[in-house]
Symmetry: C2
Subunit: 126 residues, 2 copies
Amino acid sequence: MVTTKHSSLPPNADLTRADSLAREIFSDIANKWALLIIETIGDNTMRFSALRQGIDGISHKMLTQNLRMMERNGLVERTVYPTVPPRVEYRLTDPGRALRKTVDGMCDWTQRYLGDIEASRRRFDG
Amino acid sequence: MVTTKHSSLPPNADLTRADSLAREIFSDIANKWALLIIETIGDNTMRFSALRQGIDGISHKMLTQNLRMMERNGLVERTVYPTVPPRVEYRLTDPGRALRKTVDGMCDWTQRYLGDIEASRRRFDG
DNA sequence: CCGAATCCACAACGATACTG
DNA sequence: CAGTATCGTTGTGGATTCGG
């Protein structure tokens, strides 16, 4: 799905395949850790440990897991410097930077509507 | 967090509170079901059953749960018509429509980079 | 320092049944 | 039709450990 327009019938095999792929990708990135990682890397080149420091509450496991996923999807580029101890740096790829723009929009939205949301919550909870 | 710029030290109690609230909201909406619901409602006014039909793979429970959360945060407006059987309609609020714009961006992004991502995956998996 | 694997606690989720 | 509650299962995610 993900596409805004409704699929025209009858279903075409190729379209449904592209659709399910789109859904898969969408499910991959529509999770808070992935989006926070994108925001945190931003224009920087960051080490694993720096990312872990920069993203409050993320566990070692979640960070590696999401970074792998994002590398697989071509959102981040992973550079290993074979020193000892090893040094691994992450930066956004071109698609990653493009996605970042929309994530920035979500962050702006959060800031913009913070007050409204807080008020709405109070109304709802009361 | 969520804010792009780094917090300046020393930490201010109000800022950290706003920050943790932002994180909470961000965590609420940065999930695939919420985003898919927003996309599916779009400019329409939709009944619960229509939403369920329109969002492939969502369960009754997940749909209600997310709709409640979104109503609480003021993203959707819920209208109950006390007929029998009951009729409940959902539509996006103003903040909801604003958020929708950025979600649209994510969907566009997915379509735009579908091929690149597929290629990246093949490279990674091989 | 970074990553993978193991263990397991607990939350998320689907299915089902019941209410207005 | 829409919503809530309960239950059983799955699976997510944290803690820990080991390896390069």
